[in-house]
Symmetry: C2
Subunit: 169 residues, 2 copies
């Protein structure tokens, strides 16, 4: 790996770092900071691919690392956050099931898209959209009804594994 190639990968690893910090903040019941970590990860995730292409150092290694980081920051971290902050009370085990389903559908979405190699559009809503959306909803949590969270999470989970064509920007 040359030095220039390390730059986008450093962005991607920071994305993963922020995803893990989000989980740590959720453990400390600091749900606001947990959501902010996910949103910061989303900003970095939007930059690594652009930087890699601009520097002409896009690589299969970078792509793999990106998928791995995306699952943690936009699948697992939001699932843990929304479960702890919004679903555990009042939904208990059903809330946990919904949260885990969201992360599993995110993993399926990532694995499927990686092997399809479609470049013109996305198939199903990207996990990089669904995860940050759930983090935004969590920040607005007090103003939303209880039922909003399981419904939104199931809907986004379904849309990630759907065959919906989503335009690339």
């Amino acid at each position: 790996m040359n030095h220039k190639a390390a730059i986008p990968n450093a962005f991607t690893l920071t994305n993963l770092l922020l995803g893990i910090l989000s989980i740590v903040y959720t453990m400390d019941q600091n749900y606001r900071m947990s959501a902010i970590m996910i949103l910061l990860a989303a900003i970095l995730d939007g930059m690594d691919g652009k930087v890699a292409r601009k520097l002409d150092v896009a690589s299969p290694f970078g792509k793999e690392l990106d998928s791995l980081s995306d699952l943690v920051s936009f699948g697992v971290a939001p699932a843990i956050l929304i479960y702890a902050a919004q679903l555990n009370e009042p939904y208990g085990i059903i809330g946990l099931t919904v949260a885990i389903l969201f992360a599993l559908c995110g993993a399926i979405r990532l694995a499927r898209f990686n092997i399809l190699n479609i470049t013109t559009h996305f198939l199903g809503i990207p996990i990089t959209v669904a995860g940050p959306l759930m983090a935004l909803f969590s920040l607005a949590g007090d103003h939303l009804p209880d039922l909003f969270f399981p419904v939104a999470m199931l809907l986004l989970a379904g849309l990630m594994v759907s065959n919906l064509k989503v335009p690339k920007f």
Copy 2:
């Protein structure tokens, strides 16, 4: 995807499910169950590839899904468990840094191995060995000195990204 191909993927998704449950148990401070989830995930992870090859349904999709699940169950879940159970007290932010470094090295290990396509041996200790080892250490936590955990975790992190040739069994 045919019906037979769904069998190993169900094993892989259960591996991911157990990784997420491990994080949830750590949040509940049930560190014993958290470690057991990681060890159960390791058993399932040993089975999915074998089942896929036996049924002759090994696929790029299955391989991608396997890597994604491995990072959560054997990188992130052990990092969160060891940080909460062994490193937060007495090491604080330094303990958190060690735990996150372990997960980041695990991600690099997975991304690197996936693009190398070596089939005769492993390069660096697999994350599927390092993660379950940390879970085993955690179960024996009370009998080990405090300093054991950051040292073992840094050592395994380094070995994952090393060029050590590890034979396949």
